[in-house]
Structures are given as C-alpha cells and as structure tokens.
C-alpha cells in the first residue's frame, strides 16, 4: 500500500511515463505525440492493429530505438539520458523469436544475467526456469527447442535481472493454449508480487481478462485510454439474438444488424429496451422460440475505435 502522503506529493514515480513521444521512419509517422502514464503495479494493455505503433513505443522505452521528440521514463529514469538505470528497471520480452544458436538455455540465461552485472545468478535462474517449466530443458541447445519453449526462454531472459517493470510484446503469438495459460498464470503472479506489466497482444479476450487499464493506438496516436471496465461499458446496451415463429414487426427492423431466415440479431440501446421489444412482439402476436443476450466485448470496442478488422 502506498502511503497517502507520498501519493499526494507525487513522490512515487510512475512505472512508465511517456510524454509527447514522436518517431518517424521515412514517410511513416510511427508515433505522433503519444502521452501515456502507467502507475506502479498496474497490468496495462496496449492494443492496436499492425503498424499502429505499439512495437515502436516499446522499442523507444527499451532503448532499441531513439525518439525524434518527447520524453520517456521508467520509474522516473529518462530512457535516453539515464539509460543504464532505466534498462535495469525494465524487462522486455521481444516479439521476434530471437536466440543465440550456440548456447543452451542455462548458458543463455547466465549470459543475459552477465549483461546486467549479475555474476552468480543461478538460484534465481533455477527459480525462473521452474516457474516457466524450463527445468527439464536447462541443458538443451536453443536450436532444439520448440517455438513455444523458445518463447518461454525469452520471458526468462527478460526476468533474469528481476526488473520491477515488465514489457511483453505479443508474448503468446504462436503459443499453444496450455502454454499460454501457464504463461499468464506466471505473469499474473508477478503482477500480484508488485511487478508492473505492460502487454501488447492481438488476443483481445486475453487483454480483457488480464488488464486493468487499456490504451488503444491507431496511426501512432492513442485513440482510447481507460480502465477495461469503462471501455466495455462505453458500449452501452446489448445485442439480442432471436429465433421467431413469424415475422419481426416493422418497428423493430431498424435495430436488426443480421438476419438469416427467422433468426434475427438486434442491437438494443439499453437493457430497458429489451422489455419494449418483447412487448412489441407480444402485440404483433409473434412467438419467441429462442432468445440469447450478448454482452459487448473488447473486440467490439476495438473495432469501433480502430475501425478495421482485428487479426
């Protein structure tokens, strides 16, 4: 629990603070004045279609790219001027499955520890490998691992220096369901232990289930930034699927979004409108054979804000 006085005087730096970040690659404005503040301990989701600027933003935070303008900091440390401190505080799981083909899993993790100044780190390496079910593969060469196992090693590499802020750039891409779930259990545990998590993903149900706050990027700009719950409730109302013994009354036709024979999908502005719809059906003498209510999900919010198909 953060003491109130510290919060009031703004002495606790945000885990990630991005102010007016801009980055251009040739004709492409990859980031166009992004502002973002992620508090310590949050599980934050960064969503957007391909080319929205998610990876560029992560690269700027990690020092893999240099910003054209703006300021980015990790726990109060500027990523350009105080890069040593900011990189020590940040663990990044990159999107690409990169690995050194000359090393085993344990050697890879020892080498990565060395990059951060940890000479004898085997106790923590063993613990990380245990949590990621990598213990059996400790002495296996990286080339011999499956894609999912390599992805786990990437996560382990990001954790060898015990960073308080962890960035995962689409960590579950191409990972089977079982592996994905065990990975999320581990990441959720890290979040409960106090680590701040910044996640980008294409699996919107994943973001919906895990993230407490979400930002949506489009063309290098943030188009939505709110708690997951607020984003979902911003899509007021619900959808109702009806199977009717008869024709839908003409007054309800404007609300139809999809129809197949006697099967209708209607969108309603609120739950109160449901009663009115049923009353109209009763008046028209149309019998409802089946009815299913559908809640709005993050994909709908995403599609509405970003306005294009999600992968």
């Amino acid at each position: 629990m953060i003491p109130l006085s510290l919060e009031l005087f703004n002495l606790i730096p945000p885990a990630i603070d991005v102010r007016q970040a801009r980055k251009r690659y040739g004709q492409l404005q990859a980031l166009d004045g992004v502002d973002l503040c992620i508090e310590q301990g949050e599980f934050f989701g960064l969503l957007g279609p391909n080319g929205a600027g998610k990876t560029t933003l992560i690269n700027l935070l990690a020092g893999l790219a240099l910003p054209d303008d703006g300021q980015l900091s990790v726990l109060g440390h500027d990523v350009v001027k105080q890069y040593r401190a900011s990189r020590r505080l940040l663990g990044v799981v990159p999107q690409e499955l990169a690995f050194d083909p000359f090393f085993t899993v344990r050697e890879t993790l020892r080498l990565q520890s060395g990059f951060f100044g940890f000479r004898r780190n085997d106790t923590w390496i063993d613990e990380v490998m245990h949590h990621l079910d990598l213990t059996d593969k400790a002495d296996t060469n990286m080339r011999r691992l499956s894609g999912g196992m390599k992805r786990r090693v990437l996560v382990a590499q990001a954790l060898v220096h015990k960073p308080p802020v962890i960035v995962l750039d689409e960590p579950t891409a191409g990972v089977d369901v079982e592996l994905r779930q065990s990975l999320w259990r581990f990441i959720q545990q890290l979040n409960r232990d106090g680590h701040t998590i910044l996640l980008t993903t294409h699996y919107l149900e994943e973001a919906e289930a895990l993230c407490t706050r979400i930002a949506m990027l489009k063309h290098g700009r943030i188009v939505a930034l709110d708690s997951t719950q607020n984003l979902l409730s911003s899509l007021a109302g619900c959808r109702v699927r009806l199977k009717l013994a008869g024709y839908l009354p003409a007054t309800l036709l404007p609300q139809v979004v999809e129809q197949t024979d006697d099967d209708y999908l209607l969108t309603l502005p609120s739950y109160q409108a449901l009663e009115l719809m049923l009353a109209e059906l009763r008046v028209a003498g149309v019998v409802v054979q089946e009815m299913t209510l559908q809640q709005p999900d993050l994909e709908e919010v995403f599609l509405r804000l970003v306005g294009r198909t999600v992968q």
Partner: protein, 237 residues
C-alpha cells in the same frame, strides 16, 4: 570462441601452415629477403600477422552480422551497456582471437623454422595494435553490413588484398618503385613490417614510423566506431 574452436582457431592456423609449407618449399632455395635470414623463417612473422589481422576482423564483424541477422543483438542492446563498453567488448574479444591464432601459428611453425625473437616488446606491441585495429574495423563493417554477402565483399575486396599486398611473402624493396610507393599507403604493410622487426631486428622502414601509422589508424578507426555506436548506426533504429 571456444565453442567453435575448429573454425575460429584451428582452421586459420592450418591455413597459415599451408601457406608456409607451399611458399617456403617453392621459394626457399631462390629467395633470401634479409641477409642471413632463411625464407621460411622470414615468412613466419608475416603469416602470423596476416592470420591475426584476418581473424580479429572476422571475429567482431561476423559476431555482429550474425547477431543482427538472427536478431539476438537485441539482448545486448536491451542491457545497460554504454556504447564504449559495447565497443571494448567486441574489440577485446577480437584481439583475444587474433592473438590466440597468432600464437597458434607461431607454435605450429616452429616445426619448420625457428625465427629469433630479438625484440619481444615490438612483437607484442604490433600484435596488440594490429588485432585491435582490425577488431575496430570489423565493428564498423559489422554495423554497416546488412547481409553476409556485403561482409564477404568487404573481406574479399578490402581485407584480403590489403593483407596479401602488405609484404607478407616479400620485402617491398623487391618491388618496382611504383608498387613500393603504393605499398606505403597500405596500413597493413606497417603492421607486418614493424612486427617482423621485433623478430629479426631488420625492417623495410623504421619501426617507429610503423608504430605511428598503426597507432594513428587504430585511433581513427576507434573514433569512427565510437561515433557510429553512439549514434546507434544501423543498430538502434
């Protein structure tokens, strides 16, 4: 380096021995470059330096290009490492490989001839300078190249001609005046000539001149490498 020791140490030692065997066998009866120095003994320092230069270059350049192509360079770039530490690590690793290969060539060549070691300090100085210089050049080439083909071009069209035309197999005094003059623009010539002075106490030009040229080249390449690394040239986009 040790995980691929056959490729990084034994193979270059074997290549140098083959050069020694063939050239000394063909030319030893016909050539005496320095008075009283057998041609086989004359060849050994040149081949040592050639192997050191080529392997120091290969170490930093191939490490960088391979990491860039496979993508695992990202793990170094994510680490809290300064640009000059990055440079020092790559160059020191190159120097280590260059010196290990050089010592390997010397030890293997003792079977054929035993060149004297008149001034060991000059030998060590030029070995260190030469491998550091080519290690730095390898860092520049590794950053610049985006595919193996470009690096192979750098190696085959710049490094190889400069080493072969630097006096490994001959003294530049045996060349026509034009080629003698041209050789003086080749920095590799100074490193081999100075290195050879340490063995025989004889050289084509003063070892102090060679030391200044080699030192100047190393300084220039170090500054260039550091400038490129600081700007993130082709590494941090």
């Amino acid at each position: 380096m040790w995980k691929v020791g056959f490729q990084t140490v034994l193979a270059p030692v074997l290549t140098a021995l083959l050069y020694l065997l063939i050239f000394s066998h063909v030319l030893a009866q016909h050539v005496e470059v320095y008075p009283g120095v057998h041609y086989t003994a004359f060849l050994i320092p040149g081949l040592m330096m050639m192997a050191m230069l080529q392997n120091a270059f290969a170490n930093s350049s191939s490490s960088l290009i391979q990491s860039k192509i496979t993508g695992n360079i990202v793990f170094v770039l994510l680490a809290p490492i300064a640009y000059w530490e990055f440079f020092a690590a790559y160059v020191l690793a190159s120097m280590l490989r260059g010196l290990v290969v050089g010592i390997g060539v010397y030890l293997a060549a003792l079977w054929f001839a035993q060149p004297p070691l008149l001034f060991p300090v000059w030998i060590i100085l030029f070995a260190v300078l030469g491998s550091a210089m080519l290690g730095s050049l390898g860092v520049v080439a590794g950053m610049w190249a985006e595919k193996f083909d470009q690096l192979a071009g750098f190696q085959n069209f710049i490094i190889m001609p400069l080493t072969f035309l630097s006096g490994v197999f001959y003294s530049i005094h045996s060349l026509p005046p034009f080629w003698q003059a041209l050789s003086r623009f080749n920095p590799f010539f100074y490193m081999i000539d100075g290195f050879r002075y340490g063995f025989f106490g004889v050289s084509d030009i003063s070892p102090w001149v060679s030391l200044m040229v080699a030192g100047g080249c190393l300084l220039g390449l170090t500054l260039l490498s550091l400038r490129l690394l600081k700007s993130g040239y082709k590494l941090r986009y």
